[in-house]
Symmetry: C2
DNA sequence: GTGTAAAGTGAGTAATCACTCATTATTTGA
DNA sequence: TCAAATAATGAGTGATTACTCACTTTACAC
């Protein structure tokens, strides 16, 4: 069993019940995260999780009433953390920051989400794999995203549009486009092509450039080349 | 049981064994697709599929040796269809077409993939939900994508870069960016926000504009606004 | 119409599963 | 140190599952 990783520390921080997790409970969670992320929740047995954790199967049910409660104890805390940058307290600073550009905003989001994803990959995998099947969770996450992400970022986008920094198209379309590019970047880097030799800082800047200015060569650039 | 939909016709077309599917086999597949896409493969029982298809459970095993064979019979054919536009015969036309732009290329891909996804949504859902857990399939799909999509589209991108139409950055980055934007668009439209009132043609053009020119307002645009 | 092959059935099987609970072990507080 | 509370155990349970197979039904060829 590996030493605790970042995502374990995140889980500990988010423990709502202020009670100290026992060593065995911690090992149960670690084993569950490993098994759920590799095999999927439905194909993972409590027997296997117990063996992997080095505890009796009944011990799992000392701590969690059902297998699903174990899953939820892993997934539920991650939802607010996934939209963490957009939580009000932190987010207000971004909007009010002087000299701030949408570009800086996107850069901060990419770096922050990339770092978070890198340190919480197994739990994020479980979340993405399970959300299609857990209607309660899906609904709750949609509400969280709608309330904390979409409405807020759209306000940010509108402000930058009024400043003349962003094109005049529906803010939701800009949001969708931005999130697609960021998500595709993070997914490619961490899950789809982890073995590829990306220069990460360059790719971040490149991604931001492409988001802001696209991939078409401008007429100015072409004129310069023709000289 | 609904009348056959597009994805059923696609499956019939791809039947490798040139044998006619019986009515019951067809109903088994339809029921399996419905159940797998909603509950996931591991949480779907052959008993439920049989009931839904209106056949005896043993009938499933008359046609498929294992439950997994049933799944594979649904998923495997979709892999080549997912990269269909990039298959050599059709793809060569795109490269050789006169007056063709990368923008037209992307537009064609978006329209084609959107139409395909719309008509094959349940099967695509199953594919995306299962690929993380089926190592053989994942490996095979990666090879298909690598051989037929990445290598080819990178050649296209390089050609447009030489023509001066695209910026001089690594082609793989452009590919990643383009696919992210297209995928994000299709996912949003069909799965994440199907209830939103998108004007589809406008959003396609918008997405292409943002891919090509980004979302930053150009200096020319800003100067015009200042007048 | 008859015989054979193919399709279909559903009761049954062995295995697996989430979970229980009587018992044992460990921890805690006085 | 001791009693009570808490944590842990693992054999057992009832339910569920993928699959089998003897039997029945249907289709096909002559």
């Amino acid at each position: 069993m590996q030493p605790p990783e970042q995502w374990v520390e995140e889980l500990l921080k988010l423990n709502d019940q202020d009670e100290k997790m026992t060593d065995k409970q911690l090992r149960i969670i670690q084993a569950a995260v490993e098994t759920f992320s590799v095999k999927g929740y439905a194909a993972s047995s409590t027997s296997e999780i117990a063996q992997k954790a080095g505890v009796a199967e009944g011990t799992i049910f000392r701590h969690y009433k059902t297998k699903k409660d174990l899953l939820l104890s892993i997934i539920a805390p991650i939802m607010s953390k996934l939209i963490g940058p957009f939580i009000l307290r932190d987010f207000t600073k971004v909007i009010d920051a002087p000299y701030s550009t949408y570009e800086d905003f996107v850069r901060a989001i990419i770096r922050n989400r990339l770092e978070y994803a890198r340190n919480n990959l197994p739990v994020i995998k479980i979340f993405m794999q399970e959300i299609p099947f857990q209607d309660d969770l899906k609904k709750h996450f949609k509400e969280l995203v709608s309330k904390h992400v979409i409405s807020r970022v759209i306000k940010v986008i509108e402000q930058y549009q009024q400043k003349g920094a962003l094109i005049n198209v529906p803010p939701l379309s800009i949001l969708r486009f931005t999130i697609s590019a960021v998500f595709g970047f993070v997914m490619t880097l961490l899950i789809l092509m982890p073995e590829a030799d990306w220069n990460e800082d360059e790719e971040i800047e490149l991604t931001i450039q492409m988001i802001m200015h696209g991939i078409a060569r401008s007429a100015d650039d072409q004129a310069l080349q023709n000289e």
